[in-house]
């Protein structure tokens, strides 16, 4: 069997491609013993979750420009709960739920708004969340009385996931356990996004995105599905944030930064907006490029380059890397025009 036949037989099917990726993900920690590289991969998983969450909202035609708000709400809410004695699993879940509730609230404001208005409101919301958390003396005082210092470093328990999620040995949270935690969380998020997009809800999202008036005429309840999109997407973002907080061992209002709102956008666009695989490929590529630039000692330059990448992509590659990947895959497997649902 030649390579071409092999690829043709197995790799074209998106399911076997995903299965292969999952297998690689499962055995990767056995090969990687370097802490730094492990961290980059865990961060990639985190960004894949975050981008997938953003992509799902964009799939319903609502492009949030302030998704960091939900990331931050998830992180802060879960951390505050866990530090106050909630079990990690409950804390993470509640953090994600808190993000989802705020998402519902913002969705209610945004439901009548289209592209620009929606962008303005979400963008502003994240900035204002950051400003409120950052500057509000009331909030900081509450934090200080709870944790003894600005930010949340002091009392963060590195073992907060010890055993409590049921997949780890008690009280030991090693590098690999965090790896698997993020890995399964990521697989779950992607699977959820896949199921939503392929379900009736997903069809409603696509219909609303393509033409709201027509979708409404066909009997799609616009308000309901827009809110559903907001709630699912913000739940995912809050979940990612809730997991990120203990892994990072530290959270502060920086998590609401514009940069965190833009990362999922740049990643999803790089991969391919509106596809399941887009956020995965995009997050992988952009995060590796980003970390590589960090290793090369760039700080301001890499932000500049990120902006250039986004502008050049919008101008010359608006569909992202996915169509190119498909073309390569089809070429390798000898299929000329098959729409692989990767």
């Amino acid at each position: 069997m030649t390579v071409k036949e092999l690829v043709g037989k197995y790799a074209v099917s998106s399911y076997s491609a995903y299965l292969l990726l999952i297998l690689i993900g499962l055995v990767l920690p056995l090969m990687i013993t370097d802490d730094f590289f492990n961290r980059i991969i865990v961060l990639t998983f985190f960004y894949i979750m975050f981008s997938t969450s953003w992509n799902l909202l964009a799939y319903s035609g609502q492009a949030s420009l302030g998704h960091a708000a939900f990331l931050g709400i998830g992180a802060f809410a879960s951390t505050i709960l866990i530090i106050n004695g909630a079990s990690p699993a409950v804390g993470v879940l509640m953090g994600a739920l808190a993000a989802s509730l705020v998402g519902l609230f913002l969705g209610l404001i945004c439901v009548r708004l289209k592209e620009w208005f929606l962008g303005l409101v979400t963008f502003g919301f994240a900035i204002i969340m950051a400003a409120v958390v950052n500057e509000s003396s009331v909030f900081i005082e509450a934090l200080n009385s709870l944790f003894g210092a600005a930010g949340l470093s002091g009392n963060m328990d590195p073992h907060m996931f010890g055993g409590s999620l049921g997949i780890y040995s008690p009280n030991i949270v090693s590098r690999d356990q965090y790896y698997y935690l993020f890995f399964f969380a990521m697989v779950g998020t992607i699977l959820a996004s896949h199921l939503v997009i392929r379900s009736k809800i997903g069809f409603a999202f696509a219909a609303i995105r393509e033409n709201q008036a027509e979708a409404s005429m066909m009997g799609v309840d616009i308000t309901r599905y827009k809110l559903i999109a907001f709630m699912i997407s913000t739940f995912m973002a809050g979940f990612a944030g809730a997991l990120f907080a203990p892994y990072n061992y530290f959270i502060n209002p920086e998590i609401f930064s514009i940069h965190n709102s833009f990362m999922p956008i740049i990643m999803t666009i790089s991969g391919g907006i509106g596809t399941i695989g887009g956020p995965i490929i995009g997050a992988l590529v952009i995060n590796l490029v980003w970390e590589q630039m960090g290793l090369m000692g760039m700080s301001i330059d890499r932000l500049l380059i990120l902006g250039l990448i986004l502008v050049l992509e919008i101008l010359f590659l608006p569909k992202g890397l996915m169509p190119l990947m498909k073309k390569l895959l089809n070429k390798a497997s000898g299929i000329t025009s098959r729409d692989t649902p990767l």
Partner: protein, 290 residues
């Protein structure tokens, strides 16, 4: 109850803050009216305006209020370039692409400015920086009064340009109806460039005024940029009178909020106003359906 002089003082501060929002929001509305594009990088163009003024001042030592006009012209030309080689390319390919392009511009402009000029705090020194108008125990710096006067002057010039000249009428015609304007022989592409140029020039004026009134660094534009968006939503997208009224209102509300509740609530109150307006009147105070 606060002293009446304190209240007047806060009123003047609110008015000057409002003037900066008005200049930004009117520019954003000009661009939106003609091109149906909201430039998210408007705050960064404002920052470029401040830096242009700073460097012209640094090398020539001219009066900053004269430099303001030089800065408007230079940054206006820069705005035309952004329109021609950026937004023009993605017009009509979907609203999201236009949004993402302006996000990319934020990254590029902000970080290029940090790279070129570092993030040190700078200030444009006005010759009137220590001069105050004293009425009783009330004292107001001349710079704030000049800022208000200049904003009024610029808005009057813009009004005259839009209503009394052929180009201005063509611009308004394009804003009302692209196709009809095109049929009447208006070069719509030129109108796009012009509107973006005017918008950028107004942002440069806002940046210069802000740079004279308070110190700045390359991150100065982010919050005024957001507030300008809030202003155009409250005032109504595309409505210039709406932008003026909402801009002054937001400046006043924010400054009184700072006085009564503290600086932390400045942004929160703006967002609260925005939400209330969106719930009660989603098209804004003076907006039409889009």
């Amino acid at each position: 109850m606060a002293e009446i002089t304190t209240l007047i003082q806060i009123f003047i501060w609110g008015l000057t803050a409002g003037c900066i929002y008005v200049l930004m929001a009117v520019g954003l509305n000009m661009i939106f009216g003609v091109m149906k594009v909201v430039n998210f990088a408007h705050g960064e163009i404002m920052m470029l305006g401040a830096f242009t003024s700073f460097w012209v001042y640094y090398y020539t030592g001219l009066n900053p209020y004269f430099i303001l006009f030089i800065s408007m012209i230079l940054v206006g030309v820069f705005g035309v370039i952004i329109e021609r080689y950026g937004f023009r390319k993605v017009l009509g390919t979907g609203k999201l692409n236009e949004i993402f392009l302006s996000l990319g511009l934020i990254y590029i402009l902000q970080n290029a400015a940090v790279k070129l000029w570092t993030d040190d705090i700078r200030k444009i020194n006005s010759p009137f920086s220590s001069a105050t108008l004293d009425i009783g125990i009330l004292n107001i710096t001349y710079d704030r009064l000049i800022a208000i006067a200049f904003t009024a002057l610029i808005l009057i010039c813009l009004y005259l340009f839009l209503t009394r000249t052929d180009v201005g009428r063509a611009l308004r015609a394009t804003s009302q109806n692209h196709e009809a304007a095109m049929l009447m022989g208006v070069n719509v592409n030129h109108m796009y460039m012009l509107s973006f140029g005017i918008g950028a020039a107004l942002a440069a004026a806002a940046g210069t005024v802000a740079g004279i009134l308070s110190p700045f660094n390359p991150y100065m534009g982010t919050l005024p940029g957001i507030m300008a968006f809030v202003v155009i939503i409250i005032g109504g997208l595309g409505s210039i009178p709406g932008a003026i009224i909402a801009g002054l209102m937001l400046g006043l509300v924010q400054n009184f909020t700072i006085f009564y509740f503290g600086g932390a609530w400045k942004e929160a109150v703006a967002f609260a106003l925005l939400i209330i307006v969106l719930i009660i009147r989603p098209t804004g105070l003076f907006g039409e359906e889009h």
